[in-house]
Amino acid sequence: MASLRSLLPYLRRHPAALAGLVLLTLQVAAIVFAPVLSTHSPVEADPLSSLQPPSLEHWFGTDVSGMDIYSRIIHATRINLLISISAVALALALGVPMGLLIGYYRGIVSSLMMRLFDFIQSFPVFVLGMALVSVMGQEIWNVAIVLAVLFTPMFARLIRAEVLSLRERPFISAARCSGATDFSIMFQHILPNALTPAIVQVSISIGMAILLTAGLSFIGAGVRMPTPEWGLMVSSGAQQMILGVWWVSLFPGLAIVLSVLCFALLGDAVKDLSDPTTRTRQ
């Protein structure tokens, strides 16, 4: 990983990475200072001022229940990122050891696990997520767990593929020759090398998780009203869109786009930074 000192010039050369970092900072700020940044309560309905277009009072307008969209977007950052990041963290925590084990020890159990992963992944992600959330109930944590279940195979496969290719690499033979045990080969030699693609994937997955959470909420299989959540907010304006009320869906949708974009940009940067060949060529 890059030290801080090499990070600055890198950022100067890569405005995209800089943009990602700025977006991330904005989101962190939104998470930390939500109460200060917002102008209204994110869950207080004010029926008499429903569906107001953007104005000085309501920067992004109000939704059908008269809640302030701007304030809701700010507060939603917490929920959305909480769900996505914890889902990915969980998936990583489960998927990495699984991938390592089934990649390193090949046997019936491993191939059974692979079948299972194939199976989970052969469904359209979204449909499976939808079904799972409705089985488990619409709680924030359930959404996170479901996403983790969906992402675990991805990480496990990724790590497994890396392990499979790494274990054939001569430096593993060399290590064995130097007396490394299975344990140290797995954790000291293979894991650190296999982790880089997983870390890049983390960033992408967080983006995917944000999109999926939003999608689930959009069809009503995600978090519950009136929790400020971007997908739910888009959905609450979906009906109105065709009648020309654009602000209810537009702004939270933009928030989703920017947030996912942020993680995509960071992912690219991480990939760049962790690849020694691209770094030295700079």
Partner: protein, 555 residues
């Protein structure tokens, strides 16, 4: 320049390079390169990695890698300046008048297209004509570049060809549009010596037959000595010396040239001069009996990589295992250190049959048997710093504290002649030679009795190779190591091994003392192997030819 014919604008000059400068960004990689190439002349360009040879070749057809620009000078083909040609003319030039042959022929061929079609495609790009006619021309040419059964081979895909065969296809591709000049950039790198000779013979012969100009770019002074009329030595983007081959070999002028030539000529100090006397056969440290190892390859077939070989190595002795690529050398070596489980036979190390031991049971022996791996970079974990890499095998000798380890690491760095400052570096920050040394330091860390050296010198630059050979020889002497020395490079065998075993198709075809084998090879295969080694001397034929040409030029 020393060549007498460098200025004259005479009609036999095909290519005239004048003060050519190429830069990548603000880094100049070629400066003031000038030379000419005449009809029916073979020019050799030699230089170490990064000297700018490939950049030069590509600059000649104005097809530099992205980011590279010609910043000065000119390349003239029959008087026409190449850089100022229109794109269309350049396209016709490339492959049509100057053909380029690169390294690793398999990678140069379109993997999803039949090779015959690929060659035909080039012909049609330059000469037009019908698909069928071009195909026929390609097949004819295949026959002439020594491809047996050309009609069938033309229908093959690149992955179905061997390396040598693929190289012939690429040569055919270069020749098909009847260019005036052929550029061969490390065209035979990575091929077996025997194949290399065949390919080069073929290439040079065709150039001579057709009276083409050829530029052979290589690391190997043996190649230029045997095939080229003139030699250019490159270093850091400059030509430091350019003269007829014979004169160069006799008396290089530039100091760098002399160093290069010396390193390439490291002549073996026969082992007898310093090694243990081969008089009283000592008790063998390692005995291998009828070792067998096969690999399954797809549809149930087996490749017998090692097919019943037997040999023994006594304490303090070195056995060299030589043979062409794929003959099973690495496999044999890996069986010894138990990276592969053998399928049959016995391996007795110091009296213990290691083939019957479990992995756990073998672990104590690892301290005594070590291996140096073939490719230096990939055998090092890219995420570990040098000190950890070297310290890893020390885990085999229990009871070492931190300080002791650190001390040992420094000792080892010193032993392989690396500065202690490298301890914190990562493998990708090292040169190939340094990486190789780290590999050796790792193998020596536990003070083993027996080391398998897998190709310690291949893929290294001339000077670095000489240094590694010196290092290994010193270590053998100082530590009294026994070693199995696996290699392609017959030169180094003579410097390092007491005995030689020649492998072919998994079997040992000849086995004996080094000097004996080199002097009087018994088997045809061994003879062929030895013949393929290109001495750094001008052959008789070359010399006469050079003389006659010189006379011609004088006339």
């Amino acid at each position: 320049m020393t060549a007498p014919d460098s200025h004259a604008p005479d009609s036999s000059v095909l290519l005239d390079v004048e003060k050519l400068r190429v830069a990548f960004g603000d880094r100049t990689v070629l400066s003031d390169v000038s030379f000419t190439l005449r009809r029916d002349e073979v020019l050799g360009i030699v230089g170490e990695t990064g000297a700018g040879k490939s950049v030069l070749a590509r600059a000649l057809i104005d097809l530099l890698p992205e980011g590279g620009r010609i910043t000065g000078g000119d390349v003239r083909l029959s008087g026409r300046s190449v850089p100022s040609m229109t794109p269309r003319e350049k396209r016709e030039l490339r492959g049509g008048r100057i053909a380029l042959i690169g390294t690793n022929a398999k990678a140069l061929l379109d993997p999803v297209e039949k090779v015959g079609a690929q060659v035909a495609r080039v012909l049609r790009a330059h000469k037009g004509g019908s698909r069928r006619g071009a195909w026929k021309a390609a097949v004819d040419l295949f026959a002439r570049v020594g491809i047996v059964d050309p009609e069938r081979r033309a229908h093959a895909y690149p992955h179905e060809l061997s390396g040598g065969m693929a190289q012939r296809v690429v040569i055919a591709m270069a020749m098909i549009a009847e260019p005036q000049i052929v550029l061969a950039d490390d065209a035979t790198l990575g091929l077996d010596a025997t194949i290399q000779v065949q390919v080069l013979d073929l290439l040079v012969k065709r150039c001579r037959d057709l009276g083409l100009g050829a530029v052979i770019i290589t690391h190997d002074l043996g190649v230029v000595a045997n095939y080229c009329d003139r030699i250019a030595i490159m270093r850091d983007g400059r030509i430091v010396e350019l003269k007829p081959a014979g004169r160069f070999l006799e008396k290089p002028e530039a100091q760098y040239s002399a160093v290069l030539l010396d390193a390439a000529r490291v002549r073996p100090t026969p082992m007898g001069a310093f090694g243990t006397a081969a008089s009283a056969p000592p008790k063998p440290l390692l005995e291998v009996e009828k070792l067998e190892k096969s690999f399954p390859v797809g549809n149930g077939k087996l490749v017998r990589a090692v097919d019943g070989i037997s040999f023994s190595v006594a304490a303090g002795e070195t056995l060299a295992l030589v043979g062409e690529s794929g003959s099973g050398k690495t496999t044999a070596g890996q069986c010894l250190v138990r990276l592969l489980d053998s399928d049959g036979g016995r391996i007795l190390f110091d009296g213990t049959d290691t083939t019957t031991l479990s992995e756990r049971g073998f672990r104590p022996l690892r301290r005594r048997i070590q291996m140096v791996f073939q490719e230096p970079y990939v055998a090092l974990n890219p995420r570990w710093p040098v000190e950890d890499l070297i310290a890893e095998p020390l885990g085999l000798s229990p009871g070492m504290d931190r300080a002791a380890r650190a001390r040992r690491v420094r000792e080892l760095l010193d032993m392989v002649r690396l500065p202690a400052s490298l301890a914190a570096a990562y493998p990708h920050q090292l040169t190939a030679g340094e990486q190789k040394r780290i590999g050796i330091a790792r193998a020596l860390a536990t003070g083993p009795d027996f080391v398998v050296f897998d190709e310690p010198t291949t893929a290294l630059d001339i000077r670095v190779r000489a240094q590694i050979i010196d290092l290994v020889r010193d270590l053998q002497r100082d530590m009294g190591l026994s070693a199995l020395f696996i290699t392609h490079d017959l030169n180094s065998v003579r410097s390092l091994a007491h005995y030689v075993a020649v492998m072919r198709n998994g079997k040992i075809v000849e086995h004996g003392e080094t000097e004996t084998i080199f002097a009087r090879p018994a088997e045809d295969y061994t003879k062929a192997l030895l013949a393929a080694e290109l001495p750094i001397e001008q052959s008789e034929a070359q010399r006469t030819r050079a003389l006659s040409r010189h006379a011609m030029a004088q006339a």
